[in-house]
């Protein structure tokens, strides 16, 4: 696993919890995301090998490869999620994280003390342990697609107790981040080849429809372009 440079880790650690964290880290971290490698297979920075295998398999089940085109794995959603773990968002720096943390009706929203990084770390460990208990010692990534889907559905419906992270909370974190990875600008690591946008017919950063306000139901004729100018 590649680790972030010690200076960056110190920088972020020192600012966490201060009011300045968002202000400064915002630019730093996004710039860092931009500069991350474009070529070669991606090496995760946050997730360990077991977590990475789980994440790749789960993302692919949430947004599978099919007749419509590539799934989340080849679109780079796992890479996207890994990179997000080192942003203010991943560290929970956008959330109110002061206690006491208490149980409340679900409609009053998230009430755990865990930032996204910890939701993944604890959620993946618990989900994989559950799968091993129920599938002869095999982990989630080693199940066939149908069994993986069954496990994810059980998590979604809250039928699996994961300990510190409710199954539904973990699943929804995974689902949302996967879809963010599929459909965000490729500068964040996902939506490789703009294939997510091509699927929907979303033209990306064109963002100028002066001549296309109302085409009487005809499709918009141009393919997508990214913020960096990549086209599909």
């Amino acid at each position: 696993m590649k680790t972030p440079s010690s200076t960056r880790r110190t920088f972020i650690g020192g600012l966490l919890g201060s009011a300045s964290f968002w202000l400064y880290s915002n630019h730093e971290v996004w710039a860092d995301a931009l500069a991350a490698g474009q070529a070669g297979p991606y090496t995760p920075r946050y997730f360990n090998e077991a977590e990475w295998r789980f994440l790749n398999a789960a993302c692919e089940r949430i947004f599978p490869t099919d007749g419509h085109g590539p799934g989340a794995r080849s679109l780079g959603a796992p890479e996207f999620i890994d990179r997000q773990m080192d942003t203010p968002y991943g560290h929970g720096a956008l959330w109110y994280m002061s206690g006491p943390f208490q149980n409340a009706p679900a409609n009053l929203g998230y009430q755990l003390s865990l930032p996204p990084r910890e939701i993944y770390r604890q959620g993946i460990a618990a989900a994989d342990a559950y799968v091993r208990d129920h599938h002869d010692g095999r982990g989630f990534a080693d199940l066939d697609a149908a069994d993986q889907t069954t496990v994810l559905k059980a998590l979604e419906q809250g039928d699996i107790a994961l300990g510190s992270v409710p199954g539904h909370t973990f699943f929804e974190q995974l689902r949302q981040n996967t879809l963010e990875g599929v459909f965000s600008d490729p500068l964040h690591g996902g939506n490789k080849g703009l294939a997510g946008w091509t699927l929907l017919g979303f033209p990306g950063a064109r963002a100028d429809f002066m001549d296309w306000v109302n085409q009487d139901g005809a499709p918009y004729p141009f393919g997508p372009v990214s913020i960096s100018g990549e086209t599909a």
């Binding site: 968002w22 929203g109 009430q111 997510g196 963002a207 296309w212």
Partner: protein, 592 residues
């Protein structure tokens, strides 16, 4: 602690604060705006293409309040323990210069005149017994005729695009026939209708409703406003709501007012200044200034002033009043006090029509303020007698530019899967071939729905969080269900292959996890009676007359219309009376 002096302090650099700052500097006062967020300039952080990044913008909330420093707690009922609103979802307050006026969409309504005296009008039509037990139905104590010049002024500052119905009593266009009379035309012609809006317009007319193109603070053409600042023509890029408009087409304090203000030597803008409290003199009847925390130096600063304008976001206004001891906190048990009373929201539900696959709705094309609406079921435009509820809702296609992450996470709608097998099929169909119709309705005030200080949780500065006690009530749920039922004929008339009607469900509690609207209101409402209102008709505190509280916090009810037009008009109305009356003889402008 250092101490400085200015004539007027304004708390918050959103629409209300920027309007008051402009008006008071024009009156010759030295004015300091204290804004707790960062400065924000469209030329730098709102530029193309870096600003139109959905992940960083609407998903990670680039322009919104960072809850890690301060938030609210929420419970549905008084017998519950409130818990913190830890992640932004149901509503999205802004932060930084421009406030919510930077990330808003731009729907720019006036007001339905009947809504300003809703209590009086309901009693006149249906009798006092029509008002449900526990509903605090109130009048604003201001009329449309009094506010009209200030609606007109705000539209000219905002560069609003729209089609009038009548001007000085004469029909002048194909605008909303329920809209009140105007003294002048809109400064710009209406925005074009996108395809979805055109379908809605035709279908709504065919079933006998009265569709009109929405008034939008999105410039339909190049424009220079009375302050000499310029706007460019909207290109329907779809990055209004949640973004800062790289085209300079969407009105914002940053584009439409602050460029003029920043050149005025009497004006000072202090950012990263978090106001801790408004300071009062020993008998609590006069504000002496404020104490704020300089977030850069972590030092407390006392700033003295003769006049204090509280013009932050709606619930921050109420929070600051409670922290400062301005007015009596509302007590729902004894039904006393006014600060925190009549806390209101809006009811908004989305319905969806799917069209045959040959029709592409190109939902990414849009402008936040543009679209087509009907007012047939808003305000008192229809007979409530047989229906037995108070309130109403405009219904519209307001295609603001649907982005892929939001569409994907929200799901394809209907009974379609939200991931896995079958998801892509449904998502593609919904994204390419459907359109959304919203019922954006009123929300009445109730005795046990209110704001106060939380007994447990505090912010990063050690002050108690504001606590919301809020849920949906039967009156408002039935209103929403009725209005949505009136959408069904439109769905059929537009040739939908299928449709899904979105309503609130009977007994459904307010859900903080799902975005609804940022149109929160009340808590420091205006009115004629100091027992039921925190500020008088000029938005002046009844208790501390050199404090004015400007914003949607003044609304006694949540109206069907979007609030910004009303907030801007009230800001100009209050500023006018400060300039012409208060400054000549500082003191209460209405005797309690």
């Amino acid at each position: 602690m250092s101490t400085m002096k200015t004539d007027a302090i304004i708390i918050g650099a959103g629409w209300a604060g920027s309007i008051l700052a402009k008006e008071l500097t024009e009156a010759g006062l030295s004015v300091t705006i204290l804004e707790r967020g960062d400065d924000r300039a469209t030329a730098t952080e709102g530029d193309y293409p870096s600003s139109i990044d959905e992940l960083r913008g609407a998903i990670r909330h680039r322009l919104f309040q960072n809850l890690s420093q301060t938030t609210v707690t929420i419970r549905n009922t008084v017998d519950q323990t409130a818990v913190p609103y830890r992640r932004l979802a149901a509503f999205l307050p802004g932060e930084g210069v421009g406030g919510a006026g930077l990330h808003w969409s731009g729907v720019h309504f006036r007001v339905a005149p009947d809504d300003l005296a809703l209590r009086t009008n309901i009693i006149a039509r249906y009798g006092k017994s029509f008002i449900p037990e526990g509903m605090n139905l109130q009048d604003y104590d201001v009329t449309y005729e009094e506010l009209e010049p200030f609606f007109d002024k705000a539209e000219k500052v905002f560069g609003t695009s729209g089609e009038p119905h009548t001007i000085r009593g004469k029909v002048a266009g194909k605008g909303n026939p329920f809209a009140p009379d105007r003294s002048d035309a809109f400064p710009l012609p209406p925005m074009k209708d996108v395809y979805s809006a055109t379908l809605f317009k035709t279908a709504a007319a065919n079933v006998g409703y009265h569709p009109y193109s929405l008034p939008a603070a999105n410039a339909s053409a190049q424009y220079t406003n009375p302050y000499g600042v310029q706007m460019g023509p909207c290109n329907f890029c779809g990055y209004c709501s949640g973004y800062d408009c790289y085209m300079y087409s969407k009105a914002s304090p940053n584009v439409n007012i602050l460029p003029a203000l920043r050149q005025d030597p009497k004006f000072t803008l202090v950012t990263k200044a978090h106001v801790l409290k408004v300071n009062l003199d020993s008998d609590g009847r006069k504000a002496t200034g404020v104490t704020y925390l300089d977030l850069r130096t972590r030092q407390q600063v006392e700033l003295r002033a003769d006049l204090v304008i509280i013009s932050a976001f709606q619930f921050h206004n109420v929070h600051l009043m409670l922290l400062s001891g301005i007015g009596q906190p509302y007590d729902p048990v004894r039904n006393t006090g006014t600060v925190g009373r009549n806390f209101v929201y809006q009811t908004i539900t989305t319905s969806r029509a799917w069209l045959p696959a040959r029709h592409y709705t190109n939902q990414f094309v849009g402008a936040g303020g543009a679209g087509v609406a009907i007012d047939d079921f808003n305000s008192l435009n229809f007979d409530h007698g047989p229906l037995g509820f108070v309130g109403g809702a405009p219904v519209w296609v307001n295609q603001a530019g649907v982005k892929p992450i939001a569409a994907a996470i929200g799901g394809p709608g209907g009974k379609a899967p939200t991931w896995g097998e079958g998801y892509k099929d449904a998502l593609v169909d919904t994204y390419r071939h459907s359109l959304a119709i919203d019922a954006h309705g009123s929300n009445m005030a109730y005795r046990d729905v209110y704001l106060d200080l939380d007994p447990t949780y505090s912010d990063a500065y050690g002050q108690p969080l504001l606590r919301m006690t809020f849920t949906w009530k039967d009156n408002d749920i039935r209103m929403n269900q009725y209005v949505v039922s009136r959408i069904e004929p439109i769905m059929k008339a537009m040739g939908a292959t299928r449709y899904a009607l979105g309503t609130l469900k009977a007994g459904e509690p307010f859900d903080t996890r799902r975005y609804q609207t940022t149109h929160l209101g009340g808590g420091a409402v205006m009115g004629a009676d100091p027992k039921t209102s925190a500020v008088n008709r000029y938005l002046q505190s009844w208790d501390v007359p050199n404090v004015f509280v400007i914003g949607a916090s003044a609304f006694p009810q949540g109206m069907g219309y979007n609030p910004t037009g009303m907030v801007a008009a009230l800001a100009y109305w209050s500023a006018y009376h400060i300039r012409t009356t208060y400054l000549k003889n500082p003191g209460p402008m209405v005797q309690a």
